[in-house]
C-alpha cells in the first residue's frame, strides 16, 4: 500500500502494530479538517508488522504522551519535503495527566483539580510511581 509523501508535517513510524489508532486519538487531531493517514499492519523488515501515521501541516505534538504510549516509535519532522528532524521516542521521566492513580488511599482520590503526576522508576520494566502516594504502575498493564 502506498500513501503519498507529505510536504510539511510529521510521520510517526515504527508504531507497534495495532497501536496506531490509540496514538492517533491522543494527538488531538481534528479529523474533520486535518489531512491524516493511518496505515495499519504495514510490512516492516525490522518488526514484521507496524503502523504508521502521517499528518500534514502539524509540527507540534506532545512527545511525552506519545513516548508513554509507544516508546519504540520514531517521529519524523518533514519540512518542504525534506526530513529535518528525527526523534526516537522514549519513556518520559515525568507524566502529567495521562496515568491515573488507582490507590484509594491516595490524595488524588479526594482532592479535586489536582493533576495526576507519575515519575519513571525503571525504564526496563516500564514502571512508574505516583508522585503523591508512591503507588507503582507498569504502563503496559494499564
Amino acid at each position: 500500500m502506498e500513501v503519498n509523501s507529505i510536504e510539511n508535517g510529521i510521520v510517526i513510524d515504527h508504531i507497534r502494530a495495532g497501536s496506531g489508532l490509540k496514538l492517533l486519538s491522543h494527538l488531538g487531531i481534528d479529523t474533520r479538517t486535518d489531512t491524516v493517514a493511518l496505515i495499519m499492519n504495514a510490512t516492516s523488515g525490522k518488526h514484521g508488522r507496524k503502523d504508521i501515521i502521517k499528518i500534514e501541516n502539524l509540527l507540534d505534538v506532545d512527545l511525552t504522551a506519545l513516548g508513554l504510549l509507544d516508546c519504540g516509535a520514531t517521529v519524523n519532522f518533514i519540512e518542504h519535503g525534506k526530513l529535518v528532524r528525527k526523534i526516537k521516542l522514549s519513556l518520559p521521566e515525568r507524566v502529567v495527566g495521562v496515568i491515573r492513580c488507582k490507590n484509594p488511599r491516595c490524595v488524588t482520590s479526594v482532592e479535586p483539580a489536582i493533576p495526576h503526576v507519575f515519575l519513571l522508576v525503571d525504564p526496563d520494566t516500564e514502571e512508574y510511581r505516583c508522585e503523591y502516594c508512591d503507588e507503582s504502575v507498569r504502563v503496559n498493564e494499564r
Partner: protein
C-alpha cells in the same frame, strides 16, 4: 549558632527531603536548643504556626504545639476534620492556601497519602508533614535519628534491628530509608513470615548495598545489635485468629529477651506501646523510648527554627 541556612523556606514532606549533611546541622541545632533553651525561648516571637489536623493525633499535635510555644511563637488550627472547613467540602489546597495567609508555617496531618504534597504546592509558607495516612511521618523519623545519634554518639556503622510488624509499620520503612544512607549500616529484620518488609523496602536497602538479614527468631536476631526498634504485631493484620495467637508472643520484649541482648543495645519504640515491650524493661538503662518523646519536641523546635530561618540572639 544559627539555623541551618539551606533549610530556610523549605518544606519537609518525607524523610529523604533533607541530605545527611542538612540533617546533621538540624541535629546540632536540636542539641544546642536542648543545652541552652533560654537562648531560644523568644526566637519565634510574633510568628504563628498553623496546625491543621484533619484527623486526630493528640501526641503529635501536642509535640508541635509545645515546640512552637517553647520558641515563643503562637499556634492556631484545628484537631479534627469535623471542626474544619473540610467538613463543608473545602479542598485541602483551598484550606491550606487560606490558612497560609494567617500563619508563617503550616503543619498538616491528613489521612490521605500525599496530602502534604498538595498542601505544599498550594502554600506560600513552609509545610511540615505530620503524617499522611500510611505513607510518611518524617518528624517521627527525625526523632528516631536524633535519639540514635544522642544515645550511640553516631549514625554510621550501626547494626540496626527492627522487630515486629515490618510489613505495615510505616515508621520502620521510613527509618530504613533514612538509615541506609549512612556508611556501614547493617539491618536485621525480625518478623513473622506474614509481616515481612515489602519488596520496595528490600529494594531500598539493595540499592545502597546495605547488608540485611531476615529472621523469625528474636534470640539469634539480637546478636550483635547496636539498637533494636520495636513495633507492635496487631491482631487486625492477620486473616485468622490462630496465626495471631501462635505468633503474638514470639515478638515481645521482656526482661528475659533483654538478657540475650548486647549490653550496649538501645531499645527504641515510636510509642504508644501496648504489650510488645513489658513494663519491666522500662527500668533497663538500654530502654530509651521515653527519651524519644522528649527528643521529638526538641527536633521539632529545631525544625521550626530551620524552616523559618530563626537564629538565637
Amino acid at each position: 549558632m544559627g539555623a541551618p541556612r539551606g533549610l530556610k523556606g523549605r518544606s519537609l514532606l518525607e524523610p529523604g527531603d533533607f541530605t545527611p549533611g542538612e540533617l546533621a546541622e538540624l541535629f546540632d541545632l536540636a542539641d544546642e536548643i536542648t543545652e541552652s533553651p533560654e537562648r531560644y525561648a523568644e526566637v519565634a516571637k510574633g510568628k504563628i504556626l498553623a496546625a491543621l489536623f484533619f484527623e486526630p493525633s493528640t501526641r503529635t499535635r501536642l509535640s508541635f504545639e509545645t515546640a512552637m510555644l517553647r520558641l515563643g511563637g503562637q499556634v492556631i488550627g484545628f484537631s479534627e476534620a469535623q471542626s474544619s472547613s473540610a467538613a463543608k467540602g473545602e479542598s485541602i489546597a483551598d484550606t491550606v492556601r487560606t490558612v497560609g495567609c494567617y500563619s508563617d508555617i503550616t503543619v498538616i496531618r491528613h489521612p490521605k497519602e500525599g496530602s502534604c504534597r498538595v498542601a505544599a504546592a498550594a502554600s506560600d509558607v513552609p509545610v511540615i508533614n505530620a503524617g499522611d495516612g500510611g505513607h510518611h511521618h518524617p518528624t517521627q523519623t527525625l526523632t528516631d535519628l536524633l535519639t540514635i545519634r544522642r544515645e550511640k554518639g553516631r549514625l554510621t556503622g550501626l547494626r540496626v534491628g527492627l522487630c515486629g510488624d515490618l510489613k505495615f509499620g510505616r515508621t520502620v520503612h521510613s527509618l530504613i530509608r533514612a538509615m541506609r544512607v549512612y556508611e556501614g549500616t547493617e539491618f536485621v529484620l525480625i518478623s513473622p513470615q506474614e509481616l515481612r518488609v515489602p519488596a520496595y523496602v528490600i529494594r531500598d536497602m539493595e540499592e545502597r548495598g546495605c547488608p540485611y538479614e531476615e529472621t523469625q527468631d528474636m534470640r539469634s536476631g539480637m546478636r550483635g545489635l547496636d539498637m533494636l526498634y520495636m513495633t507492635r504485631v496487631q491482631r487486625e493484620r492477620f486473616f485468622n485468629e490462630e496465626d495471631y495467637i501462635r505468633l503474638k508472643d514470639q515478638f515481645l520484649l521482656g526482661a528475659e529477651q533483654m538478657r540475650w541482648a548486647p549490653s550496649s543495645m538501645i531499645v527504641l519504640h515510636p510509642l504508644p506501646r501496648v504489650n510488645e515491650i513489658a513494663a519491666e524493661v522500662d527500668a533497663d538503662p538500654r530502654a530509651v523510648y521515653f527519651k524519644q518523646a522528649k527528643n521529638g519536641m526538641y527536633v521539632r523546635m529545631a525544625l521550626i527554627c530551620a524552616l523559618l530561618g530563626l537564629a538565637a540572639r
